[in-house]
Symmetry: C2
Subunit: 392 residues, 2 copies
């Protein structure tokens, strides 16, 4: 927590950031050519981090500050494992123990990220587990429970609360997480100066909001100061459209209702999104900071179905050479819509997007798409009111 | 083929190299601290390429030159898929068709790299296949054959020979492949100048030899010109020790004996290495160029068992944050031996190694190591003479 507007990055964090920061800003020339668009498309690529996503940008400072405070163990939850592997990496770097409750379904079905976490020395538990009161309660009711992010959060929080040397760490949504991620946008501003260009449109995908906020907030500062004139666009999955269809209300961050209430756009803390392939975007709520600027009309938002996203991902891979993680394919789909609109109008717009990770550990999703086994799970209109019934 | 000593990198290749080149040179300060060594350890990291290894350094120029000559399709073989995915990426970039015969056992058991190749638009066939004379012959004899690299080479070569628009591409061993990879060493020389340091020992892993040659050859030039004084060390798996225990003789590059004879260190073209986890090092022969300089005494070589390698890989991951592919763990193990030797003697040696890829698609090997299921398959002494019996 801080009341300062800017926080310098500690030297000990920069020493680790050096492994992949500054991350590259690329111009997608071969994609532009394929689309035959007058638009110029840039992407800021976070897949160069050791775990292949933007998550270490916050895992490293969180581990550092905890270590500096004498904490010896961090606990957390993870679904598919992007966040868990980032925290495991960060904890290994600073010599902290790392204990991760991973949703049972992912623990059983997606072994690669589990192995990555264990290689970094983390201890993994499938959730629900017998190790916590919360887990035992769930297992007593349903011994075959495959778990949920909400249950895993409860277990990790309970363990941290009962162990004096331990703290709980979260990988998105909260203000300090978005602050850490602004290193993405700050670097991009400097890189655009080097490239002697300026973005007109910024497009990012949103799950909890850390990747999008990390890129967009520094540019939003420039816009509000009158130094840049640009549109900022959040893209979410049609199966989990918290910004475009959620209510702006106080809601819980977890399914079980253990966290403090957060004022945010929410589909309801009881809402379980369809199992789309972009696991990082399957969250019922949206970062309070992003929710706030959306209410102020400073950004716009749209929801895109997943088949259009994967089509964009394949097109990007075959031109630019990087296979995007399922999450940023949402931003790429919206980029391509904008670039094709520019083709119609002849506008030479400059589009910037956050390519927040690669798909090396998500390749089965591409197999599903290429094999014609992917469906678009758009949220039915009547789902919302039911799941939001208990929220004021 | 060329008689020129130096070949400029074509602009069209540099445009693609830009995606990950220059690759970073890192100093492993946290590893040095853990080992408590006075040695300074540097690593040149090739895992930043789109497919996570050094292979695109040659796949891209091979695809470019073929495209420039009017070739429309490249065929190749692949085992676990490192080379196949690099060539699929390169072919997508230049609009070439890519047809890959993948060893049946890997095709069935290691789906991630298969999906990666298909996402780039390549056509994959499990080998042996019904599509070639060579494949049909094997299947007639053994319908359940799980294939081998030698069979897959025969199928890819046969297809290229029968299709006027197609050519066959190889990912290691041959002179032009090693030439393409020297971009690694040339960059490292410039990076050491920036760092105002000079290596005393260069350590790289060797399978076919392209990663090792790519790093070592430019430094060897400096050594032979009297501008540097350094030791160059090749590290191979104890299960497949072609340099340290092979015969220096003319032998075939493939199991079936279809290729021209190559003068190289070889365990015999009929030799089938044990299924160790470093698939890229399971080759019976060694690049003729590397074999030559080894005979001249310009490099030394050692063989390391795989458990020591994976122990080094885990130690590296937990300090430096990058999980190394199984192949470069061999070089890391030898680095650590040298660094610990320096600790004994107090020598402040500068060690440079090639970290030729990350392990995102090889994580099950780490699971086997961490789970205590890995064994050291050292080559029995009597294996050699039998498999080399037919070689003059």
């Amino acid at each position: 927590m801080t009341t300062e507007r800017y926080v310098d990055i500690p030297g000990e964090v920069i020493d680790v950031y050096r492994l992949w920061r500054p991350s590259p800003l690329f111009r997608a020339r071969r994609l532009e050519k394929l689309l035959d668009t007058p638009a110029r498309i840039y992407y800021k690529y976070e897949g160069v981090s050791p775990v292949g996503s933007h998550k270490p940008n916050t895992a490293v400072p969180q581990a550092f500050y905890n270590s500096a405070e004498g904490v010896t163990r961090l606990t957390t939850e993870t679904g598919a494992g992007q966040w868990g592997s980032a925290l495991a990496f960060a904890c290994a770097t600073y010599g902290l123990d790392c204990e991760v409750w991973q949703v049972r379904a992912s623990y059983d079905q997606k072994p690669y990220r589990k192995i990555m976490m264990e290689t970094f020395g983390a201890t993994l538990h499938p959730s629900p587990s017998e190790l916590t009161e919360a887990g035992r309660k769930i297992l007593a009711e349903n011994p075959d429970s495959t778990g949920s992010l909400g249950i895993a959060i409860s277990e990790a929080v309970e363990k941290a609360a009962s162990d004096p040397g331990a703290r709980y760490a979260l990988g998105s949504v909260l203000n300090h997480v978005l602050l850490h991620q602004t290193v993405i946008g700050e670097e991009a501003i400097k890189q655009f100066q080097l490239a002697e260009d300026t973005p007109d449109v910024i497009v990012g995908c949103t799950g909890g909001g850390s990747n999008f906020g990390g890129l967009a907030f520094p540019f939003l500062r420039e816009k509000l100061a009158g130094r840049m004139d640009l549109d900022i666009r959040a893209v979410e999955p049609a199966a989990c459209p918290s910004l475009t269809r959620g209510r702006y209300a106080y809601d819980f961050g977890d399914t079980a209702g253990l966290t403090p209430l957060l004022k945010m756009h929410t589909l309801g803390h009881g809402f379980i999104p369809d199992p789309i392939h972009a696991g990082g975007l399957r969250y019922h709520g949206m970062s309070p900071l992003l929710s706030h600027i959306y209410e102020l009309g400073l950004i716009d938002a749209l929801a895109v179905p997943q088949q259009e996203c994967f089509a964009a991902g394949v097109r990007f891979a075959r031109t630019e050479g990087i296979i995007p993680a399922p999450e940023p394919t949402h931003a790429l789909a919206a980029c391509m819509r904008e670039a094709l609109r520019c083709k119609e109008t002849g506008e030479e717009k400059v589009i910037l997007t956050a390519l927040c990770g690669h798909a090396h550990l998500d390749l089965p999703a591409y197999a599903a798409y290429l094999g014609g086994q992917m469906v678009d799970n758009e949220l039915p209109q009547d789902t919302l009111d039911t799941s939001l019934a208990g929220i004021p």
